[in-house]
């Protein structure tokens, strides 16, 4: 099986089939990340699609390394653009109040997994860090580079977010 950097190099030379293979490989991670960030399946898929379109435009700038981290960084920036258009500021404060997901009824149908509900109970900053590091598999350093947040802040939010996530999952299983 060809490696991601190999496919990316080929895509940079204009081979659409190789880029399609990259999309196939990473679509689940990116769609999951975007859906969790937005709290909406349709909005998430829109961002995921914009992410891959941007990746196609910028594929020549991919300089090796972990392709998933590169594409997740693009997804994060696309998400931020959408947030800016909606003029919603992300609260980084440790004491930030819990911001629940805004969900449409259609998105809620068929999406009642404990994980999603547990994520919705985290603070905004914790939720973002858990989505990037735990759900999308970025290392703390990769998440820090993608977001521009300090490494210590990422680690702190992930630790607290994971603890809160586990607590919520345990309580939901007990109940």
């Amino acid at each position: 099986m060809r490696s991601d950097p190999d496919l990316a190099a080929s895509a940079a030379r204009g081979h659409e089939a190789d880029f399609a293979e990259l999309v196939r490989r990473h679509q689940a991670r990116i769609r999951g990340m975007a859906r969790r960030l937005t709290g909406s399946a349709s909005d998430g898929d829109d961002i995921a699609q914009a992410t891959f379109l941007k990746a196609w435009q910028k594929i020549g700038s991919y300089a090796g390394g972990t392709f998933s981290a590169w594409i997740c960084t693009i997804c994060w920036r696309e998400y931020l653009q959408v947030r800016r258009k909606q003029k919603i500021e992300i609260e980084f404060d440790e004491t930030a109040e819990i911001i629940p997901f805004e969900r449409s009824q259609s998105d809620e149908v068929g999406d009642q997994m404990d994980l999603t509900r547990a994520l919705g109970n985290l603070s905004e900053a914790q939720r973002i860090c858990v989505i990037l590091c735990v759900a999308s598999g970025l290392s703390h350093r990769e998440a820090a580079e993608a977001t521009g947040w300090p490494l210590g802040t990422i680690k702190s939010h992930v630790t607290r977010g994971v603890a809160a996530l586990r607590k919520h999952l345990e309580s939901s299983h007990v109940a």
């Binding site: 880029f19 999309v23 196939r24 991670r29 379109l53 290392s139 703390h140």
Partner: protein, 115 residues
């Protein structure tokens, strides 16, 4: 060792959730968007190129008529080259027009690539 080792069980849960998503329609949508964008890009570039070539071809006789004068001036002295160019531009403003078309084309292509 990656940082997320202590919560790999949670990562696995998220991964299972993600893998349940059907990839085919999404991949198809993305690749359709890419092909559509590539096609429109080629059309714009082609149209700009054809217009530019048409303008240049239309003005070719006038430009060639002024060329011998320019050639004489340049060979006379290099120091007067800039002045000659401005003289040529004032004598034959078509140069400015062609230059403008080329500049606008380059700006359009640059803006398109950066979009």
């Amino acid at each position: 060792m990656r940082d997320q080792e202590p919560y790999s069980d949670l990562t696995d849960l998220f991964t299972v959730e993600d893998r349940a998503l059907d990839p085919a329609p999404f991949v198809n949508d993305v690749m359709t968007g890419i092909r559509r964008k590539s096609l429109s890009r080629r059309l714009v570039l082609g149209a700009v190129g054809v217009v530019g070539a048409g303008v240049a071809a239309f003005q070719l006789p006038s430009l060639l008529a002024g060329w011998s004068g320019l050639d004489t001036l340049v060979t006379r002295t290099v120091n007067d080259a800039q002045q000659d160019a401005s003289l040529l531009a004032s004598a034959d403003p078509l140069w400015l027009m062609v230059g403008g078309v080329v500049a606008v084309s380059l700006l359009a292509v640059t803006a398109w690539e950066r979009a």
